[in-house]
Structure formats: C-alpha cells, structure tokens
C-alpha cells in the first residue's frame, strides 16, 4: 500500500480524521493552558463545525454502486447517505451539548477537569461516527466499546455525586454484559460464515440458505449490543438510572446521539447483511430466514409500551424523559420493522424531529435545574408563570414529543403511521397510537405542574440572552416543520435513496 493509496483510503473518513485531530488538539491545549475552559468549548465547536462541513460535503460524493469491491480500510466503512444523515444528527447533537455545558450549573464543580470532559465527548463522538458506518463486525464492536467507555466516564463525571457514580457503575455492568454477549454472537457468526464483513455475509446468504437455530441465536446476540445502545426493552434497565444520575448535558447526549448511532448501526446491519434487493415499491427483499420482521415488531411493541407505562409513574423529570426516550425508541423500532424505504424515511423524519424536541426538553430541564437545583416534578409547580418564555418552550417540546399538531412531532408520527398503514401493519399502528395517548398523560403532567399548580415561590426568573437563543433555535424549527414540512421530507428522501 503506497502513500497515495492511504489517502485514497481515508477518502470516506475525513470527518472522523478531523475529529481525531481535534481530540488530540483538545488534550494538548488543556495540557498547555489548564485554566482556559471556555477556549476548549470553542475549539470543540470548531472541530464539530469542520467535521459537519466535511460530512455534508459527502452528500454530493459519488459513492461506488457496488461497495463490496472496495479494498483496504475503505472496505471497513459503508459509504451511504443514511450514514451521513445520522452523522449529521450526531454532530448537531454534540454541538448543542457543548453549548448546553456552558449553561450547566451542576458541572461547575468539575470545571478543573473540563479538558477531560471535552476530550471524552470527542472520544464518544469518534466512536459513534465509526459505529454508524461500520461494515465490519470488529469495527462495530470496537467503536461500540469506544462509545461505551467514554460514556461510562461521562455518566460518572461528577465524582462527588453519589448518584452520578452509581449511574456510572450500573452503566458499566450492564454495558459489559451486553457487549460480552454481542462479542460472543459475532464469534458465532464468524464461525458460520468465515468473515466479519457485512457485504461478504450478504453475498454468502445469497448463495446458500443458512437456516439454523445457531444463526438466529448469533443474530439475536449481536442485536443485544445494539439494543442496549438504543435502550430497547429488555435491554433498557440501565437507562433510567443512568439518565437520572448522569449530568443532564450527558443525559441529553446519550438520549439523542448514542441512540442515533445505535439505530444507524442497526439499519446498516440489516440493510447490508440481510437485504437482497429493494423492490420497486420500496419494500426490502429479505435474504435467508432470519426473523427480523417478527423480532422488530415484538421488540417495538414491548419497548414503547413498557417505556410509556413506566414513565407514567415517574416524579423525576430526567427519569421520566429516560422512559419517554425508551418509548420513542419503540416508535423508531416500529418504523424499522416495516423493512422498507418508507419505513426508513419515517425513521429519518422521526429522528430529525426527535433531535430537536428531545434536546430542547433537556435544555429547559437544565435551565430549571440551575434555578431550583432539582428535577423533581413538584419543584416545577408554578414555573409557568415564573418563566413564561422557557415554560412555553418546554410546552412546545412536550407537545411535540406527544405528537400533536401543529408541531414537528406530529409529522414524525404521521410518517411513521403512513409507513405502517402502507405496509398493512394495522395492529402495530393501533398499538403505537394508543401508546401516544398514554404518553400524553405524563407529558401534560409536567405542564399541569407548571401552569395549573401554584408554587411556593412567585419571583420571576429571567433567562439569559444566550439560553433564549438556544431555546429558540430548537423551538422554532419544531413549530415550523409542524406547519411546513416539505424541506424535512425532501431531505429524508435524498438520504434514503442510495
């Protein structure tokens, strides 16, 4: 391999290279100027912006039509637009989380370790970028571990807080088990097929029909690792504790970015290993007898129902949002289970919207936590009159999470149900709809405490200019896309077409 070839190989991995570079810059800068905390944030944003630029530029790259003939390192990565989409989602989420950090009071005590914080976020970001485009089980596993290790540390970043340490500990134990199972599944898969590459497995499945229980078991084991990342039931037990204990910025990050990476990995795994062709009507022709459809449908039903029903009883807002994020993973799994391009469009639309509304909800929670020092729902009493602007924003985000028009959340739901009804999966659609009725109860409960119940404290809270800007940058698109969603769908369509 000559040097020219090396750079050619890097072709699809420019964003990742930039992130690695900035990870190094962050660490070195922090060594040289240990006190300059704000500069680290700016460097991070710069790195993210650059990576975002390169990622978006890839949208216009001509990818090889048959990527299975690639060689070298490039072969490890799947160059396609759905991957680019999820990378964009993750980069935007990271940028917001870096911004949120500026506003977080609870992280104030850790500012002497700010260098580690940003470096770990970049480590996690790098892992997620590779996880999204992995075309190889080993790369998938290694990047998943990179994400996990960074997030273990970040979850327990407030060392002095008991809750935070507990969260980190639980996260490690669950994560360790899940990744162990996944690794075992990968080894079984390798034993049966003799390769780690998705494309090779797919080609093998086209030729022979592997129909053994072992194949099914290894597939489910591999899914365990991904299911743990997207917090699908029954791999969700870590979610509430970690979401509650981790610093809220990291909770927001986990709920959007690491979920996006997990879903991207799932999409790539299914689409590149198990799909033979895409029919003209957009449905995927599945290879071999792996029961993806059944698996995904049942997991979707379980995930959304358990998530929603458990969220009903939560008094801690972060915990409630954790269960709500489980429920949303259920809706996304339902869209996935259609196994068609329509389903993929629904996922893309849903995730774009989910990014905005979930980050927005967490941001307001951070701001409220700064003032009241608590995320307990009883401490939200009367906040609607004390901070009308932020209260209204949280209202918009929660209504959007419920999926009511005229917010973008409704468009996400609409496309989900369009895909489900088009595939004639009516029962699943009805279950998902009933779930969204249930979810109304706990989302609206927050508004009830904010507006309908009187608080002890009546003094108004004025938000800082910066926080108003950030909240607006999330709330305005949520409303706009609810009324005029053409750009959103056009974007989704471009992304889903190979």
């Amino acid at each position: 391999m000559n040097s020219l070839n090396f750079f050619n190989n890097l072709g699809y991995a420019w964003p990742e290279t930039i992130i690695t570079l900035f990870l190094a810059i962050l660490v070195i800068y922090n060594l040289v100027y240990p006190q300059a905390r704000r500069a680290l944030g700016i460097i991070s944003l710069l790195g993210i912006a650059l990576a975002l630029g390169f990622t978006i530029q890839q949208m216009w790259t001509q990818f090889p039509t048959d990527p299975s003939w690639l060689s070298g390192f490039t072969r490890m990565l799947i160059p396609d637009k759905i991957g680019i989409f999820f990378k964009v989602i993750i980069l935007i989420a990271t940028a917001y989380v870096v911004l949120f950090t500026e506003f977080s009071e609870e992280l104030r005590g850790t500012f002497d370790r700010a260098g580690e914080y940003y470096a770990l976020i970049f480590g996690m970001l790098l892992g997620m970028m590779f996880m999204i485009s992995a075309n190889n089980f080993i790369l998938l596993y290694v990047s998943l571990e990179l994400v996990s290790y960074s997030s273990y540390v970040l979850a327990g970043f407030m060392k002095t807080s008991e809750r935070s340490s507990e969260a980190s500990m639980k996260y490690i134990i669950y994560g360790g088990v899940a990744s162990g199972i996944m690794l075992f599944g990968i080894s079984l898969m390798f034993g049966m097929t003799g390769t780690f590459y998705y494309f090779d497995i797919s080609r093998l499945l086209m030729m022979i029909n592997i129909n053994s229980v072992l194949f099914l078991i290894s597939g489910i084991m591999i899914f365990t690792g991904i299911g743990y990342k997207i917090s699908s039931v029954p791999f969700h037990f870590w979610t509430p504790d970690v979401y509650e204990g981790a610093p809220t910025t990291i909770t927001a990050y986990l709920s959007v970015a690491s979920k996006a990476a997990g879903f991207a990995a799932l999409i790539h795994l299914v689409r590149n290993c198990f799909v033979g062709a895409v029919a003209t009507d957009g449905y995927w022709v599945m290879l071999s007898h792996f029961y993806w459809k059944e698996l995904l449908v049942y997991l979707a039903i379980l995930t959304m129902t358990v998530g929603n029903l458990t969220a009903l009883w939560q008094d801690n807002l972060k915990r409630m949002l954790a269960y709500s994020s489980i429920a949303h993973a259920g809706y996304l799994l339902a869209a996935m289970s259609v196994l068609s391009n329509q389903g993929l469009i629904a996922m893309v639309v849903y995730f774009s919207v989910y990014l905005l509304m979930n980050l927005g909800a967490f941001f307001i929670v951070i701001l409220i936590q700064n003032k009241t020092g608590s995320e307990n729902i009883d401490d939200y009493n009367g906040l609607g009159t004390r901070m009308p602007f932020l209260g209204a924003c949280l209202g918009i985000f929660l209504v959007s999470l419920t999926g009511l028009p005229p917010t973008a959340g409704f468009i996400g739901k609409l496309y989900l149900f369009l895909a489900l009804v088009d595939a004639k999966m009516i029962i699943l659609a009805i279950i998902a709809l009933l779930n969204s009725v249930i979810s109304l109860y706990y989302y609206i409960r927050v508004l009830r405490h904010m507006y309908l119940t009187k608080g002890n404290n009546e003094s108004p809270i004025t938000p800082s200019f910066g926080s108003v800007l950030i909240a607006l940058s999330l709330a305005v698109p949520v409303l706009l896309f609810g009324i005029y969603f053409t750009p959103l769908i056009e974007w989704a369509k471009t992304v889903v077409l190979r």
Binding site: D281, F410, F417, D422, V437, L440, F485, T486
Partner: protein, 533 residues
C-alpha cells in the same frame, strides 16, 4: 378565486388577535379584553358578509364546484420516486349549506363568550391568547375541506381547551381538564389512522392526468377515485371500511358526546368557567355531529346505511339517558350539561332518518342547541357570579328578586323544552317528523318522544325550585342583570325567538345542501354498483 379570502380571514383573524394580546405589556388587561371582543365582533361582521354573499342554490357536499368561498392553494408538495408516492396537500377551505350555519354559530357564540369572559381577571393575557387560539381551531374545523387541514385544526383546539379548563376552572379543574384531553385525543388518534388509511386508498387525478394520493375529502366521496388494493377502498374485497367507519365515528362520538363516551362532559362543564362552558356546549359538541355528516356519511355511504339503526338507537339512548341524568342532578350546571347530552341525541336521531326533513332538523337542532344551551350556561353563570353556589335546592323564589333575569330564564328553559314559538320546537319537531318517516327507525323515534316529556319535567321542575315559590331570604341581596349580561342574553334571545317564528332564515341556508346530501346518500348504491361493486 375571484373573491376576497373571507374564510381565511374569519379563521385566522383570531391568530392575529392572539399575537396582539401576547405583545401587549402586562397591566393592559383591558386592552387585551377589548382585542378579543373586537376580533370576535369582526368575525360576526365577516360572517354577515359571507351570509349576504351566500348562494342558496348551490349544494356542496361532494361537488367541488358548488362549494362557496373556496380557497385552494398547494400547501405541501413533494414529488415522488418509484416507491414513494407524490405527496400533495392542499390548503382547501370552503363552505356549503351544512358548514355555513355552523360558521355563523361559531362567530356568534365566540363573541358572546368573549363578552362573558370580561370578568375573568386571573392571568388575563394567557386566557385571551388561549381563547383566541381556540376560536381559530373551531372556525378551521368547520371550513376545512381537506382531511389533513381538518385534523390539524381539530387537534389545535385541544391544548387551549385543556388550559382554559385547567387554569381558570373550578375546584376539580385538573381532573376535568385531563379527562377531556385524554378522551378527545383517544378519539382523534383513530381518526388519524382512518385519515391515513383513506389517504393511501384514494387518488385524485391532477390536470396533467397524473394520479396522486389525496387528503381531499371531496375526492374521497367518489368511489371512482379509489385504488384497487387500498385498505379502505371499496374495490378491495378485503377492505377494512367497516372498522374504519367505527373508528372515525367513535372519534366524533366522543366529541358529541354520545353515550357511553359522555362521561367527560359533565366534569368538563362543571369545572370550566362560564364562557368556556358556553363555547363547549355552543360549538365544540357540534363538531362531532358535523364531522359525522361531513365525513362518515358521504365517504362511507354504504356503511352508514348498514349502521343507521344503531345511530338512531344511540340517539335515543342519549335523549332518554341524558334526560334522566339531568333530572337527578342537584348542581344547576351539571343539570344543563346532561340536558346537552339529551339534546345532542336529537341531532343523532335526526341524522339517522336520512331524509331531508330529518337532516334539516338535525342541523337546525345543532344551531338551536348552540344558542339555547349557551343561554342556559350564561344563566347559570349569572347566578353563580352572584351567589357563588349552583345548588338547585339552595335557591327558591328568585323571580321576585330578579324578575328580568327570570324572564330570560323562562325563554331559555321553554326553548330547551321545545315550546312552539321558540326555535327549539321547530328543530325537534323536524327531527321527529324525519325519524317517523323513515321506516327502520320509526319505533326508536316514538320511544324518543319520552325525552320531550322528561325534558319538560326537569326543566319546569328546576324553574320551580330555583325561581318560583317563596324567596329564600339568604338571597335578598342579589342584583338583577347588569349591562354586560344584557348584551350577552338579548342577542341570543332575539335569535332564538326569530328562528322560532320564522325559521326559514336558517332553513333556507341549509336546504339545498341537505337535499344534495340526501340525494347523494340515496344514489350511492348505484354509484357503487357502477364501478363494479
């Protein structure tokens, strides 16, 4: 389109008002109230202009050319690819003889309720912003001719209503508000599913000859537009149209509210502040019956005929059950709430008759119930403002203390009973005439007449307990009506009396459309058989 966009104006004027209210600084409460009043008054003016320009000879229903004041723009347009269909959603609004009376009613009741909101002094800004948003939602529902647009307006109303009951309501407001919200959302999610199912089954032919899926409800009424394999297509032998019909019907029935989905109504009414009760009874309940007439009837005519007996039966249950419940109430407001359940039963019964006179009666009853029940709730509001109680047994002999007030009460009560000379009589007798003329539901109609007796029973009994007899000395300080209350009650009284004596004002408005609907329902079997059903 060669006319001013009057319907858009009447629909979105409140949104402009809402923005003004939100921009007004704290301390200008009076300006906010005046804004709301002005906006709703302008709506009445626009409604008057629409009425004067309304062509009585155009039917509407399923014919896009005979709808009036149409505005149609492309709202969402997405070109498709091989596996993803082109998506086109129109901003398509217009009225016919069925929606026109509802439009007038909404404008009228919104103004009356805005007057009644004058003495709400808690968080005035939020109240008026929410109120105006609610008015936009209500108007939008009655003018939309695109299912997607309709659904958006339908859902937009929920959140303001939740807050209006939940913040400005009575002691159990939180419970009542969430109950209302969850009930209605439960109904509307099924509506969403049916909407998507219809969308994926029905195609509209564009000018270029291209066929695209559509949310246009007028296209959904033509069986020729359905695809061969759509799940809600009559051409598909395994279609789910019956289930879809039930789902859609349930969504509307919750709003009516039809037994057994009525339990949210007494709670919501009792806890809501007076103006919101007026809106709820005056306009919101009509959306259910309007929805059935606009969607269930013409889109699923064959299933409507299958279940027509059940619609009438539920109408009868509503009438009698509502009346019996009303009789047992000790709370004045709850009594009126249950009387609403009873009166909406007449609408269901009239609709089920499938003939001109019955459906005319049903729509006219929708209008009359809107005005009369609005009066009744205002009357309860008047007494509650003064006495801070609504217990029927705590009053007595108010007629001597508040004679003018009692005069209005008597008119409203007699209107609710259906006394000749007051508008309620016309609509109820039309409903019975229609029902009696339709063989399958004749028995149910006869049974329903018991409802009139029961209605007279609880209304007159209440009149006696609260207004007649010796004055309860506790209340000898009560003042008679003030100017604002006159302004609310007099217009309604005039309308109720005029329509009682000369109902043709309203009947003429709806006549052609009702005939078109009846005609369409009667012809639909041929239409279905002509496409090979």
């Amino acid at each position: 389109m060669n006319h001013a966009p009057l319907l858009s104006l009447i629909t979105f004027l409140p949104v402009i008002g809402m923005i003004i209210v939100l921009l007004l600084p704290k301390g200008m409460e009076k300006a906010m109230k005046i804004t709301t009043l002005t906006v709703t008054f302008l709506q009445i003016v626009i409604a008057g202009v629409i009425w004067s320009g309304f062509n009585y000879s155009l039917g509407g229903i399923n014919d896009p050319n005979s709808f009036q004041f149409i505005e149609k723009f492309r709202w969402i347009e997405l070109t498709g690819v091989a596996w993803l269909n082109t998506i086109k959603i129109d901003y398509f609004i217009g009225i016919d003889g069925i929606s026109a009376p509802m439009l007038m009613l909404t404008a009228l009741i919104s103004f009356i309720a805005a007057l009644s909101s004058w003495n709400i002094n808690k968080a005035v800004k939020g109240y008026h912003a929410m109120y105006l948003l609610l008015v936009t939602g209500m108007m939008g529902v009655f003018v939309s001719l695109d299912f997607f647009l309709f659904y958006i307006f339908w859902e937009v109303m929920l959140l303001p209503m939740y807050f209006l009951i939940g913040i400005w309501g009575g002691p159990r407001k939180e419970y009542a508000a969430i109950k209302f919200f969850i009930y209605t959302l439960f109904g509307s999610v099924f509506m969403l599913l049916v909407m998507i199912g219809l969308y994926l089954s029905c195609q509209e032919t564009l000018a270029a000859g291209q066929k695209v899926f559509t949310f246009n409800i007028l296209s959904m009424m033509d069986p020729k537009n359905y695809t061969a394999t759509g799940i809600l297509s009559p051409l598909n032998p395994h279609n789910l149209r019956f289930i879809a019909y039930i789902g859609l019907f349930a969504g509307f029935a919750i709003k009516i509210p039809m037994f057994p989905f009525h339990t949210w109504l007494p709670d919501a009414h009792v806890e809501a502040p007076t103006p919101i009760s007026v809106i709820l009874a005056g306009v919101l309940l009509k959306m259910g019956t309007y929805g059935i007439l606009r969607f269930n009837y013409p889109i699923f005519p064959e299933i409507t005929r299958q279940v027509i007996w059940w619609i009438a039966a539920f109408g009868m249950i509503n009438i009698i059950y509502g009346a019996l419940c009303a009789m047992a109430q000790k709370d004045f407001k709850k009594l009126i709430a249950y009387s609403s359940v009873s009166h909406m039963g007449f609408v269901l019964l009239g609709m089920a008759s499938l003939n001109t006179i019955g459906i005319t009666g049903a729509i006219f009853q929708m209008f009359n119930h809107g005005t009369i029940t609005a009066m009744l709730f205002l009357i309860v509001g008047v007494i509650y403002d003064r006495a801070h109680t609504r217990g029927i047994y705590e009053f007595g002999g108010l007629a001597t203390q508040m004679p003018i007030y009692t005069g209005f009460v008597t008119i409203a009560f007699f209107g609710a009973i259906g006394l000749p000379g007051i508008s309620g009589f016309i609509s109820e007798s039309f409903v019975f005439l229609g029902g009696f003329g339709f063989e399958p539901i004749r028995l149910l109609t006869i049974l329903s007449t018991i409802g009139i007796l029961l209605g007279a029973g609880y209304m007159l009994w209440t009149l006696q307990r609260v207004y007649l007899g010796p004055l309860n000395e506790k209340w000898n300080q009560l003042q008679d009506l003030d100017g604002r209350e006159y302004a609310m009650l007099i217009p309604l009284t005039i309308i109720v009396l005029i329509l009682g004596i000369y109902p043709s004002f309203m009947l003429g408005l709806m006549n052609t459309s009702v005939n078109a609907l009846v005609d369409f329902m009667a012809k639909s079997p041929q239409l279905f058989s002509s496409i090979g059903m």
